[in-house]
């Protein structure tokens, strides 16, 4: 078809700002909506706070040696004071230092579990949603099988089989975490694949992987992002629960769940020992949940005008 007149000169490709003007406008709108909500900003603030603690924890802790198992029997179980704002534990270690350094362990666990869960669950969900027949049946029945067993109980038995330890705890929780994503993404894919633009891509002769990657996945991202941010909190909580029953991190490694586990024998007289690690768990989980709620509010088209 020679009648298509191609421009003779090279096309003018504008600068980054101009090319992405629409995207920038969209993000500005998101930022505006997000910052308008107090709870979203509180969630973001908490998450950022704990991220900073996780990244710079060892240099922020006032007594870094206490996190490695230093024993200072002279200052056992001191109440909160100026020198030790969160008090000290039965080994004389500064609880504030241990809570700060524990942030890295908890966030790392949360990130890995959520990441593995999403990396396994999202592709399976998309395939299960897009393909009919036995592929979907096999994936969904296995997913149902996992979902029908309470997650924490299953993780518990897996850790019990593998032996206690943070690594095994992460493995066990990842194994129980992916089915949630399969469910979510499969349901979303079922609706997205009926969209006209998917049929249009098929009419162009796009291969299935192309359609899944360019059309289905981007339009499933909103619920995935929301679920992932909420799951961060839940995964941290689950890991702390496993630590609490002694299947996660081993003392003296600073981990919030394990700290509370030891501290419960010192309740209620030495309340600060369990209260501050507990507060850390509470605030992290709250932060990620508020963040997830905020993201849902701005990303869900139904809560937005357009």
């Amino acid at each position: 078809m020679s009648s298509v007149d191609l421009p003779a000169i090279a096309p003018h490709i504008p600068g980054f700002r101009e090319r992405h003007a629409s995207t920038i406008r969209q993000w500005r709108l998101y930022a505006h909506l997000f910052s308008g909500s107090f709870s979203s900003m509180l969630g973001l603030g908490l998450v950022v706070l704990f991220l900073i603690l996780a990244i710079f924890g060892s240099s922020l802790a006032p007594y870094p040696e206490d996190t490695l198992g230093a024993v200072k029997l002279g200052q056992r179980l001191l109440p909160p004071s100026f020198a030790h704002p969160f008090g000290t534990d039965e080994m004389g270690a500064d609880i504030l230092s241990r809570v700060i350094v524990g942030a890295r362990t908890s966030l790392w666990i949360g990130l890995v579990i959520t990441g593995i869960g999403a990396l396994v669950g999202v592709p399976l969900g998309i395939i299960a949603g897009y393909k009919d027949g036995w592929v979907r049946s096999v994936i969904m029945r296995i997913t149902d099988l996992f979902l029908s067993v309470p997650g924490l109980a299953l993780a518990l038995s897996i850790v019990a089989a593998l032996g206690p330890g943070i690594m095994n705890c992460v493995i066990a929780l990842s194994i129980v975490w992916w089915p949630g994503y399969v469910r979510l993404v499969q349901a979303k894919t079922l609706s997205v694949k009926e969209e006209l633009y998917v049929e249009s891509a098929r009419a162009l002769g796009a291969r299935t992987p192309w359609i899944l990657w360019h059309h289905i996945l981007p339009n499933c991202m909103t619920p995935i992002v929301v679920k992932a941010s909420m799951d961060m909190g839940m995964a941290i909580l689950s890991a702390a629960s496993l630590g609490f029953i002694g299947l996660g991190a081993k003392p003296p490694q600073p981990e919030w769940g394990a700290m509370i586990s030891v501290a419960r024998t010192y309740m209620p007289d030495w309340w600060w020992y369990s209260a501050f690690p507990g507060l850390a768990i509470f605030l992290t989980v709250l932060g990620f949940n508020l963040l997830g709620d905020g993201l849902r509010d701005i990303l869900d088209p139904r809560s937005r005008g357009r």
Binding site: M1, V4, P11, S22, S200, A203, H214, N219
Partner: protein, 273 residues
């Protein structure tokens, strides 16, 4: 491509680009079967325009999707330029799709909301050709020119465009690979009346410019009369009548066609452009 052995037809001089015989589609739902298309046959000569008219639910759009092989026919044969589409699947079917393209009824949902206009127009090249980089940008610019849209639209998202502009983007996507057959499935029915006229005029020009063959599906009889040389009237999945457009409109032989024609709202006529 060899030309198939076919019966002589009114257009015997021009070999058919598209020929479908005995197309039938039965949908199964909840144990009940529903015959959406029943034994429809059609042929479009190279460069011709065939219209399919009928009321809502008469199976017009299903015919379009059958011809495009977007849904599997229950029975029937589809030949595109002598090649049997109905026997194809997988990679050969994928590759032959560049020769036939479709413009859907609703441009508001035919474009991925997460893709910019550039992505939408570049997609046909990315999935069917090895064209990349600066040459691809030039082709995208060229297509925006063809559909008379400014280059600045390249980096916009579909929701920033009007319905008519979106439909032009859909048309640009459809003609990007220089198809031989363009199926237009009620391309204007989701648009404002003023925009409808624009798109129809534009489609007419485009056909002459790119030497396209159209299968034009519409319930708008006035548009069909303006655009098509041949017309098929459908009702409840069956062909009621077919023939040259003028003949069908002047002397409808079936009651249904007469009723359809009588239902055109009459307005003071102005000379056609």
């Amino acid at each position: 491509m060899s030309s198939p052995v076919t019966m002589p037809s009114p257009d015997a001089g021009r070999p058919p680009l598209l020929e479908a015989t005995g197309l039938t589609k039965v949908f199964l739902s909840g144990g009940k079967s529903f015959k959406a298309v029943d034994d429809v046959s059609l042929r479009i000569p190279q460069g011709g325009v065939l219209g399919i008219v009928g009321e809502s639910g008469s199976g017009k759009s299903t015919v379009a999707r059958l011809v495009m092989r977007l849904i599997e026919p229950t029975a029937g044969r589809i030949l595109l330029d002598g090649e049997d589409l109905s026997a194809m699947s997988g990679e050969p079917l994928r590759l032959v799709r560049r020769h036939m393209q479709i413009v859907f009824q609703n441009p508001h949902s035919a474009l991925n909301p997460r893709h910019t206009i550039r992505d939408a127009i570049a997609e046909p090249f990315l999935v069917q050709t090895q064209l990349r980089g600066i040459e691809l940008e030039r082709r995208v610019d060229g297509l925006l020119d063809i559909v008379s849209l400014p280059k600045a639209f390249k980096y916009r998202y579909p929701h920033e465009l009007s319905g008519g502009q979106k439909q032009r983007i859909c048309i640009a996507r459809a003609v990007a690979l220089e198809p031989r057959l363009l199926v237009l499935d009620e391309p204007t029915s989701a648009l404002d009346v003023s925009v409808q006229a624009q798109i129809i005029t534009f489609l007419q020009e485009l056909r002459e410019r790119l030497n396209l063959t159209y299968l034009f599906i519409s319930h708008n009889l006035a548009v069909v009369r303006y655009l098509c040389d041949h017309v098929i009237v459908m009702n409840r999945g069956r062909m009621v009548e077919e023939g040259p457009t003028d003949a069908v409109f002047a002397n409808p032989s079936e009651d249904y066609t007469r009723k359809l024609i009588a239902s055109i709202p009459r307005l003071p006529q102005r000379a056609q452009t």
